[in-house]
Amino acid sequence: MSQEWNDEWELSKENVQPLRQGRVMSTLQEALAQQETSIHTAVQLKKQEFESEIRFYSGDDPLDVWDRYIKWTEQTFPQGGKESNLPAVLERAVKALNEQQRYYKDPRYLNLWLKFGNCCNEPLDLYSYLHSQEIGTTLALLYITWAEELEARGSFKKADLIFQEGIQRKAEPLDKLQSHHRQFQARVSRQTLLGLEEAADEKDPDLLGTAEPQRSSLADLKGRGKKKVIAPISRVGDSLKAMNRNRSLQNPTSQQLSNSLRFAVFDENSASGAGIPVLTPQPWAAPPAPKAKENELSAGPWNSGRRPRSSANSGMEVPCALPNFTPYVEESAQQQAMTPCKIEPSINHVLSARKPEKEEDPLQRVQNHQQDTQEKKEMVMYCKDKVYAGVEEFSLEEIRAEIYRKQAKKKTEEEMQAIAQKKEEMQRKIEELEKKLKKDDKQQQPHEQPAETRESSPPLGLQEIAFSSATELGEKQPCLQSESQLSEDTQLHKPASSKKVIQSPDVCPGMQGGSVFLDSEDEQEDQGAEASLSKKDVALLPPLDPATFFSIFDESSTSASQNISCSTGQTQKSARRPLAIRKSSDCIIAKENAPPEACDELNGIEPLTEDAIVTGSYKNKTFCANPEDTCDFVRAAHLASTPFHGVVAQRIPVPAYSESALKEDCPESKSTPLNQQIPVCEGTYNEALCAKKLSPIMEASQEDTRSSGSSVSPGSSLSSVTQISTIKYLHIPEKLELAQSLPAEMVTDSGGIGENVTGDDITQFSWSDEQRKKLLDPMPASLTASPDFHLENGSLPVMILEKEFELGNETYCIKREYWTNEEYKMFFAVPANFPQLDAKGFAIKVYSQPVPWDFYITLQLQERLNTDFDQSFSENCGCFLYRDGCAILHRDINRFTLGDVIRGCKAITEEVIILVVYNLLDVVEKLHKAEIVHGDLSPEVFFLGDRICDPFANDEMTSALKIVDFSHSLDLRLQSRISLPNGFPIAQTPYGQQLLAKSSFPYQVDLVGIADIVHLMLFGDHLQVYQENFTWKISQNMSKTVGSDFWSKLFGRILNADGKSTVPLLRELREEISGMFDSRFQERLCESLAALGETFLLEDFL
């Protein structure tokens, strides 16, 4: 006999409460099966979900949530009991929906009440309460339930009245009510009939009985019948029942009979039945003499009786001795309330004793609650309603988190809209400008330099130049105006704040801030720039800052600054704080014990609405500024823990400052544009280059302002100030110089340097040299102990293309330069002494700092991956550490990179792409498994593996890609505190900015890298994305490509993986690809590879 079903339900059928609407078998089985484990997370999660839905429900039918919650509870906890908490849920629901008049006619609401009634001590009270409150009085169910309850208690008349009331009020559905009424009447009449029959049965002997004593009283005393003798002396009235017939001989007197009659239970049913004789009260004034009692002694003189001593009945003995026994007292008499507990109470949590106090009727509680709410005098200063909305208590943090999540969602939505709008606007303006420029060009062909800059038709990224040069020329930009207009508008909305901080989330990651506006001397524009910059802050920082999430609610801070909790606008505050202390007078004002108005002015920052919700709607304020305010602390902490790149808005709004401050400010702001102009003027023919080049300078200019600000500040440490400024000035020329070489590297590098200066070495960019130096200082033993590690005394050999140099004891000749910048260089070299036999050689990575980071990462990979460390990585590498740099030598490297393939082949066959992607996913998965983020995945960093280059390679063993460069890698085990993906080179690309704008997950960076590489291989150009319904999509039309299903799926998953663990994701995708590897695929792949080798590899090699 096969038993498909788990018979759990049958085994514990006694533990399942029947439900009126039945149960879902699957839920029931599940619930019963889970019974054993005390914590079933799924159930808890669901419960939590309901609880939070109750609090944050925004629809117009809160009853629905409760209804579902209760139904779910009923189904999920078949045993009912404490765990289900159903009575509590019902009570809370009833309370919560108390004043909702609109639900009074809702059957669900009535149902809620009726279910609640079952938990009450006296449901009848509840029904009449409902009736008096007009809750559900139009619904048949109320009357039916009410009447049923009455019927069950035997009050048929009342039940009938209830039915009639219902019918009279035309309760819906009337036919149901009527049919119930009919059935009820049928039941009652049947019962009455039965009762009548019974009563009739009883009456007959009754009459007989009454007749008999009467007759027998005059008859002789001889009993009739053999066994039963009827008492002859009975003269009781006709109410007498004929029970005496059953009496035994020994007890023939009527006294017993009358006794039994006196305690007859009043039976309403028989009373209401017609024709039943009503009991008459006992006619005798005094009880009849107890004559015929057995063992009775006739009264006599006490002393006359002679009794044996032993009888112990005599009155003599009674008063004498004290009882010589201890009276037995029942144990339970003293402590009835507590059940004796044999097991130690700490262990025994199941059978805990019931609390002795009497339980309050829940109905009463609800009614009390209602009264309370009506005459409530105290005001709750926190969102009590939210904390206690459901059955479980929510913490303020939970509520805040929920609100935050909601807001973030809304924000993204708005942002996307704003971006789209802005983009459109920009496009329009660019077109306009272009037209204008063309016109200008025609008019004045040979002109000064700014005009030349214009010639290059600027795409989106280049608008800065266009704008800046335009401003230079004194032209009013409509865009600028609108920008400042925007800030002014926002200002109007919050007159309390004197700062121009705009938190409106219309951030445009596409344009690298309002750097454009910095060179403008117009204050308005300046503010505009600041506004847009600070906007950027907001977008970048809050998700990363733990303080924002879980800041402790601080009453004093809220009171001090109107509606501002210190946790909210920290980004701004912290940024401003040091600046605000420019003048000593300002400084005083800035102190917390200053009058609150002044504080408001200074800290007037728009509060995050979440706090308005948590705290704000309760307007009462204590105007007592607390000198121990934690605000300062929070700010300081924030300042210390916030990476610099986010804190860029540090301009001081003019109104708050004296002229001297302004003067101070002016040269700074002027010097910035000067700096900025230089790269622009110096031959900027490459647009992309230009766009990126501006960025570091911009950051430098920020620094300017900042350092000058702090130099005046008396509070901040002077030493740090000087340090900052020196470093700053040292770096500026360097940056300018760098700006002319490769841009992508530069941006991040200079950013890193800037970070070092300001970040107080708490949080730094991942690839910051300083930090790496620190991490590798002293050099880990694993590093120095490695046989491949060589410490060299001299300085780094000069390496130039086609020149020989010595490394270790070998001489190499550089054959190719992959990429180079100020700090990193990647070369391909062959041994100088040996003729070259194949395409393989050495990849040499040179780093201008003596930090063997790549080597470290490679070793870590080797260690963490163990057997997984395969051909995808550099298996044979050596590290040469010099005084002023280090070189890492990778042996057995194929000459070509994936970038060569992409550039060299017009169309890469799908098989090759699949193979490459497969390996790509594999490599990244391994990296992530080892908790290493590569950070700069691009086709250039992937050397081709033997799988592609070696036609005789073993399919299984070899890998198609090899990765040796880890310049931007992040070891999350070591650098766990860094979680900002924004600093990676990829985050500077347009798509990176979009995709990583809000990401806080460093692994995400590599996913974007993968997506870009795949995109490059498929379409030949960089990734372009847009967002639709919160999902990122690529702008390219996929349908034309082969296997578009898979690719769109891949993009969909990779681009939208934020927050999820990347390793399983990559593995899944990889496994999906491996599903495509059939024999036919292999064949085609072989052909494709051969073709690739012929057309590209060999050719290039020769």
Partner: protein, 206 residues
């Protein structure tokens, strides 16, 4: 008598099997009618069967009706042409089907030609039947309350070529539109196997 003996001692014949199964139906239907309150409980009386106390109707008309059905079933079981017996419980007011008790019968038609009885002790069969009836009783744990007065129908699925006997009529399957189905235990006499299942209305709960 010989047949009787055979059943008691060691084997199951076709006729004996048909009898056992028909008897099960008789008690099973009675149990359902009592458990689901189709007839007032006072019209039932207790009997001992399968080691359980079961309730069977005392209503003469109902008794008669059930006897007729069971006799007919026995005949069909013997001929191995019956596939399914369904007890349909529907509301009197609007004829809506509220519950459907389905007993699928698998007949081993080969038994018709066999002469030797099959090996299975009567006690084992009774134990199986007992657990089915117990489950029928236990279904109150999940079945919805029948709020209105209900009536029941018996549907019997037979092989196609069967001539409809007198007093029987053809009927639709009377399915429940949106139903939750719960499979109950089954029992077998080795010749007939009965799988039980109950379906009930689902839409009223979340």
């Amino acid at each position: 008598m010989a047949k009787q003996l055979g059943r008691d001692q060691q084997g199951i014949t076709l006729r004996g099997s048909a009898e056992i199964v028909a008897e099960f139906f008789s008690y099973g239907i009675n149990s359902i009618l009592y458990q689901r309150g189709i007839y007032p409980p006072e019209t039932f009386t207790r009997v001992q069967k399968y080691g359980l106390t079961l309730l069977v109707t005392t209503d003469p008309e109902l008794k008669n009706y059930l006897n007729n059905v069971v006799e007919q079933m026995k005949d069909w079981l013997y001929k191995c042409i019956v596939q399914r017996l369904v007890v349909v419980i529907s509301s009197i007011e609007n004829n809506e089907v509220l519950e459907r008790w389905q007993f699928d019968i698998e007949c081993d038609k080969a038994a018709k030609d066999e002469s030797a009885p099959r090996e299975k002790s009567q006690k084992a069969i009774q134990d199986e039947i007992r657990s089915v009836i117990r489950q029928i009783t236990a279904t109150v744990t999940f079945l919805p309350l029948l709020e209105t007065a209900c009536a029941f129908d018996l549907l019997i699925y037979t092989d196609k070529d069967l001539a409809v006997p007198e007093k029987w009529e053809e009927s639709g399957p009377q399915f429940i539109a949106n139903s939750e189905e719960v499979r109950l235990r089954s029992f077998t006499t080795t010749i007939h196997k009965v799988n039980s299942m109950v379906a009930y209305k689902k839409d009223s709960f979340s």
